[in-house]
Subunit: 329 residues, 2 copies
């Protein structure tokens, strides 16, 4: 009987040097760093809603952890400990081994210990809770944006949504975009170093999981302000639609839609006073991660995000973010 | 569009006085008590595996939190904060409202704040992570039992399994047992006060979730010792099989099986030196909670648990605990 307990032991009980007591007891025990605050986040990933049922389990393992570390990154917290709970329809040892591979690769990359878990029978479901530490009063919250702040975003949001469309055969991307976009979808890299670098600099931050406009809207709601985003300042995604004779105007529009409203990117969107733009540029250089100044925080209806075209005329987009219930109801 | 975010706000965003930042940001923020250790546990409950699909959502809300607080109780930790993630097949507002009712009733009873969560579409699944605090080096672990220690259990393990059998029509219990057993199943009371009272007294502890013998076996495995349990010292469950003419010998045997191997009770099983038995009796009186001295820790194969009949002959039981994969494969 290779039951639940044996499986957990075999694949998920690894050394936990940062814990006083790791998996195998009623609780794990950890010693918080004196004086630090604890940032806590939890995410549930469901087959068919958050990932394709035939997703490579190794990629899924990486991503399941990465999206939680991304929430810690968005607070400027240092990742410390995670718990993992999962339901599986049946014991599939190869699947479990591959999932564990990806999961622990991500844990190692970002220096977190997996201190506890729970495995059970049921429709495929992965739930992770991540804990990180941050100096008191220094966490990057959503509610600190000020009118006049610059709005920034890291990397190239939209790639993950393009990667999904590519895998589903809805778009045909020119080289080298298929590989880049699928990697962004399957193996997102939480911006942990960026989040910590932004402590004391950013006035507000969020990770782009629902889509750039939707997540920027969340900052604006909590900060009681509005945002003006300029199309021309968005990260360059021109080549994705080809060039010259092969230029595809429909694909260009779709890529723009992905950039503004596609979820699953896990880049950071943040605000900061314009006086710090040089410092932010230095952070970008040090981390070798492009940071784009895409607009400004303005006075206006709380949560309102307006996109302006090159003539400074407002542009309307229908899709404002990803809602699991609304999207598939 | 009464989507995900609106639902979360309406039913699950409540005041979190013990947190610096509650639900609504990328992470919650809490300030651990200086010097304390953090005990962390996570549990996933799946429809059809852990609860009947038609379970009253209010009871489910209570129980989902209670089983996590029970893990904190088993460590002697003071419950502080919890996160809640859930998947639902569809937006059923009445169901969600009732679940929240039960969940927050339990949270209030045991003084924990719900600091964060995640709601998504998918087969019914509830995943909770609970955090508590304990003085460094004082947590009740599974690995501290010593040969010669007495073995104790609280309350009346077995009632929950009897309650399940009753609901499924597999047994007919005499009054007042149906109500008592169903309450034990649906609204378990985590032994939080007992766990804290046992700090400095118990050498090892576990909560009875898999079944008394199986969970006592977990203590013995981790403590590298064996256990001798005496049938005559088990909590009294005689009346459950009726008396006089109505006495049902099959039911008596089934009740004993539930007592030794039925899961889902969330009583505490613990070990302590015999010199502290009077102190333990005083704790029982103070908490108005029966504590039963059911056997002794003995030298032997690590993890071996033997049950002795009144003639001190070993008794054999087939069912040793509940394994989600093995039980329903």
């Amino acid at each position: 009987m290779a039951g639940e307990f044996a499986l957990i032991d075999k694949y998920f009980a690894r050394p936990t040097p940062s814990a006083i007591l790791g998996p195998g007891d009623d609780c794990a025990l950890v010693q918080p760093t004196p004086g630090k605050q604890l940032a806590v986040t939890t995410d549930m990933l469901v087959s068919g809603t958050h990932f394709l049922p035939d997703t490579d389990p190794k990629n899924l393992g990486w991503k399941a952890l990465a999206v939680n570390l991304s929430d810690l990154a968005a607070m400027g917290a240092m990742p410390r400990w995670v718990t993992l709970a999962g339901a599986l329809p049946a014991v599939d040892e190869a699947w479990i081994a591959a999932f564990a591979d990806g999961f622990f690769a991500c844990a190692k990359e970002y220096g977190v210990d997996v201190i506890g878990g729970d495995t059970t029978k049921g429709p495929l479901n992965v739930c992770i809770t991540a804990m990180g530490e941050v100096e008191p009063g220094r966490a990057l919250r959503r509610d600190g944006a000020q009118v006049g702040d610059q709005i920034w975003v890291s990397g190239r949001p939209g790639l993950a949504a393009l990667g999904l469309a590519h895998l589903q055969g809805r778009v045909k991307l020119p080289e080298p975009w298929p590989r880049l976009c699928v990697a962004a979808l399957e193996k997102p890299r939480p911006r942990v170093a960026l989040g910590q670098a932004l402590v004391g600099i950013a006035t507000a931050a969020i990770d782009v999981s629902d889509g750039l406009l939707a997540d920027l809207g969340h900052i604006c709601e909590r900060s009681a302000c509005a945002a003006a985003v300029k199309l021309v300042q968005l990260p360059h995604l021109r080549d994705v639609a080809g060039s010259g004779d092969s230029y595809d105007a429909d694909l260009r529009r779709f890529a723009l839609d992905c950039q503004l409203a596609g979820g699953d990117d896990y880049e950071l969107c943040f605000t900061a006073p314009g006086t710090l733009s040089l410092t932010i540029g230095q952070i970008a250089a040090r981390l070798e991660l492009p940071l784009w100044h895409i607009g400004e925080i303005v006075a206006g209806e709380a949560g309102a995000v307006t996109v302006y075209d090159p003539d400074m005329k407002p542009v309307t987009f229908e899709r404002k973010g990803y809602d699991h219930f609304a999207a598939q109801a």
